[in-house]
């Protein structure tokens, strides 16, 4: 098969294409299980295979994909035809940043292949968790498992040949309850890295889940008898369970270079960041250092090589508060440097990924992380907060089209007054303007507060692509934030 792909790539190049690549998925399988109130609502699996072809012709992309490998020639021709049409409307002829040809393999760390674990064992785990969640005051209980395993073979016209085997495990628990007014509240636990070196079935640690099941039930019950979150300005102390989403939405998406260059305007939106901002914009307070780090061991945001064939990189995005980098692939860095008339980016950041063989790679987050700080533990931060609220759990998120402002609702809040946690509140929300918010960052927790969270459902692009990635974040405090609205 690889030889056939190489022959087709050569054939299309001979017809005038400047670059051609093929991503062949010998298989991609998934397995999803959802137990809801003791009912195994979803026990589904899927399997697909196919190939996606990308052709660059006269400065324009053409793409074509099929699960039917019977006529590879026709598939490559279609991609070339699509590129020919696109070449009729080119404003900035696409160029790709230089790269080294790579022959390599990558396997994500996995001890026990979840696809070799009997379904009955997975169901038994969900049942065990469901039993733990089944307590008075819990109206709805969810337990979820989601496994993905895929093999990707990448071949391009520049001599790269990369084979990847990726295994993903996502899992979570949720409990919902109703308060005296009949209003629903929720509390969740989602499996993150928890410092584990591998992410196969072995990461489904029953003890860890049992502890968290007990915790979320307890916290839900506290919330059901709590008062509403007040509507006022306070310091917000974000635990990793909401800090990851704040980072995702207002650093991650805002710094995707294709968004900055206007390639997502028709749907997802743009970014308040401009090319002039790199090296100057004070994005956050000096306590903020953020990076796109695809080299973190064992995370969905670490995948060895991106779909341009670029090896994983650790790129600083914000250095002590100043914007210095973006989430980039080969095409966009060339265009950005040309438009800015100066070299802002030194080659691709290795963040171009597609969700499946039938989608085209675009800039995606890797692990968008915040470096731990020097403001101690969560207790230390709380002790030094006069009037604040500790927030955790993502309940709702809505962000302006240029990522310039946001509104988040969280599962739970704990009011902090004069350095002490006073009481739980329900219906907690907070909102803000992105730059003002990050510049109000007044405390960053140490290593003890840092957690790597997994995301299995980031959506972007048209046609839409759901992507898996990670966020390693510490506890952070921001001042003068409007809550309860």
């Amino acid at each position: 098969m690889i030889e056939q792909l190489k022959q087709q790539i050569e054939r299309i190049k001979a017809q005038g294409a400047t670059y051609v690549d093929a991503r062949w998925y010998p298989f991609e399988e998934s397995n999803q299980l959802v137990m809801l109130n003791g009912n195994l609502k979803n026990a589904s699996a899927s399997r697909e295979s196919g190939v996606g072809i990308r052709v660059l012709y006269q400065g324009a992309w053409g793409f074509s994909a099929s699960s039917d490998l019977g006529d590879l020639g026709a598939l490559f021709d279609k991609a070339l035809d699509n590129a020919r049409v696109a070449a009729e409307r080119v404003t900035f002829p696409i160029r790709l940043a230089e790269k080294d040809a790579v022959q390599a393999t990558f396997s994500s760390p996995c001890e026990v292949n979840p696809f070799e674990v009997p379904l009955a064992d997975k169901v038994a785990f969900l049942k065990e968790m469901d039993d733990k969640l089944k307590q008075e005051g819990v109206f709805l209980r969810f337990s979820r498992l989601n496994f993905i395993r895929k093999q990707i073979v990448f071949v391009d016209s520049e001599g790269s040949e990369i084979e990847k085997l990726i295994t993903e495990v996502f899992a979570g628990l949720e409990v919902d309850g109703k308060d005296a007014q009949g209003m629903t509240h929720e509390r969740k636990f989602t499996l993150g890295q928890q410092g584990k070196p591998t992410r196969g079935w072995e990461s489904i640690d029953r003890q860890l889940f049992a502890q968290n099941a007990e915790r979320i039930v307890r916290e839900l019950k506290e919330m059901l008898v709590a008062d509403d979150c007040p509507k006022e300005d306070r310091s917000v102390i974000l635990l990793p369970g909401i800090m990851f989403l704040q980072t995702h939405e207002t650093i991650g998406h805002a710094l995707e270079l294709d968004r900055i260059l206007g390639y997502e305007l028709a749907f997802a939106g743009g970014s308040f960041v401009t090319l002039d901002d790199f090296g100057k914009l004070r994005y956050g307070s000096p306590k903020l250092t953020a990076r796109a780090n695809a080299t973190v061991p064992n995370s969905p945001g670490s995948f060895g090589f991106d779909d341009d064939g670029i090896p994983a990189k650790d790129t600083v995005l914000i250095d002590k508060g100043v914007l210095v980098g973006a989430i980039t692939g080969r095409q966009m860095v060339e265009e950005a440097n040309a438009r800015a008339r100066k070299p802002i980016f030194d080659g691709s950041g290795g963040a171009n990924r597609a969700t499946s063989f039938y989608r085209v790679p675009i800039e995606r987050m890797t692990n968008i992380n915040i470096d731990p700080g020097t403001d101690g533990t969560l207790d230390d931060i709380v002790a030094r907060t006069e009037k604040g609220i500790v927030l955790d759990g993502e309940r709702s998120w809505s962000i302006g089209s240029n990522r310039e402002q946001f509104h988040f609702a969280t599962d739970i809040g704990w009011l902090v007054d004069e350095g002490k946690v006073t009481r739980v509140v329900k219906n907690a929300t907070y909102k803000g303007d992105t730059l003002k918010f990050w510049n109000s960052l007044s405390a960053v927790g140490d290593e003890s507060t840092w957690e790597l969270k997994f995301v299995d459902n980031c959506g972007k692009g048209q046609p839409n692509q759901v992507m898996q990635l990670g966020h390693g974040v510490p506890v952070c405090r921001f001042d003068n934030v409007r809550i309860g609205e």
Binding site: A43, S44, A45, D68, G70, T184, A266, F272, N402, P463
Partner: protein, 461 residues
Amino acid sequence: MKERILETLRDLRAYALDRGYEIVLDYHEEDSYLMRFANSAISLNTNEHLIRLEITAFAGRKRASYELITDLDKINEMKQGVDVAAEMVQHAQPLEYDPTIPAFAASFADESAYDEDLAQLANAEKLAYFNRAVEGLETDDLQLSGIFSSGETIAAQSNTRSEHTQFWRASDAQVNAVLAHATLKWEVIAEQSAQCKADLDPEPLRRDLAYLLERYQTETAQQIPLGRYDIVFGSSAIADMLNFMNWIGFSGGSMKRGFSMLAEDKVGKKVFSDKITLVDDPDQIATFPFKRDFTGIERKPFPLFERGIFKGFVWFQDDADEFGARPTGHTVMHKSLALHGGEVDVASLQALVGMPRQKDLLYIPFLHYMNIVNPSKGVITASSRFGALLLKKDGSLVVPYNVRLTQSLLDIFSDKVAWLSRQTVACNTSMSYGARNPTAIRVPKFMCVEGLEISHSNSSY
């Protein structure tokens, strides 16, 4: 093609029956074309032809499903898929209720929403359409973005309980054209939904874009003060809110799970303005309707709100099984929602701007990134985008920076509704996640709601 698909489903059914399996087969085929524009260029031109087969196996109260992306030539692969589903179900856990296995009383095929000319639209025609829609409007500063998404979708079902099959095919196109200022960052949009080729007409897009551009180029954007406004929502914004209501409003399953703003005791009560009549109406061809649901139930117009009175919840088969309700023919990929028009003649944005007014009106054509803050209260939040205007009572006009609205749908559709336009439009709400699923909601072009609070007002784009 149709016969070959149904023959394949019959083969698979026979294979399952031979082995004593109880299965349901859901076949989905798409031929999707997407021409995407950005920075005034075609940034992506792609097509995908994909066949998905979902096999759901039952064994008493146990249920499991297996999906594969396949090809009609690969009958053995599909049969293996049937075996996988049948094996999986052995290890599933019994549900606490009896899941219904559909049995079709008769075969049914519906291709009324299919137009071959639209499904097979050539690249050159799409490009010509777009070129006309923005002819003379692009400059170095004003750049085109947008999509021309078109194609066809086939859904077919079969099961081991009956020999009959169901088949549905539709063609669709979703067009949106955005002109954005490269440095000032404002954006304006025009959209169109098509079920057949005759629905495609670039002229209204060009007219709307030209009109908005003139406003945006002559006025300087301003941060508008926080507070209460009379808001005129455009069709996209209305459709988006109805989409959310579809989720946290009248779904029986959502209600039972505490994820709805409506309780059981609201049935038969007035919950909205008497100007609000919302129907799930499979006679609306522009909504790519299903005339039968996937369990074989005939779908007729289903009133959701009649003059503000809540008529009843819709029940998906599995929710009906779990909660002991009667299914309402809503086990479908999408509904055919239609919000009836009102009394006021406002056919275009120009007409809206020209209407005499006693108070300022904030026009919001589009709501970006809507999400649910509190499902029990129906509270949603979203930001304005794409061509908002503040129409001052003195007849002048202000271009506002984007604003955020955090409000309950119960409030937005309450007696605060001042008027709805008589003219309606099919608003394309298709998402491009996963399998192709063309959806549209018929809505009035404009809906005016009094005294809604703006809780956040941007100081820039």
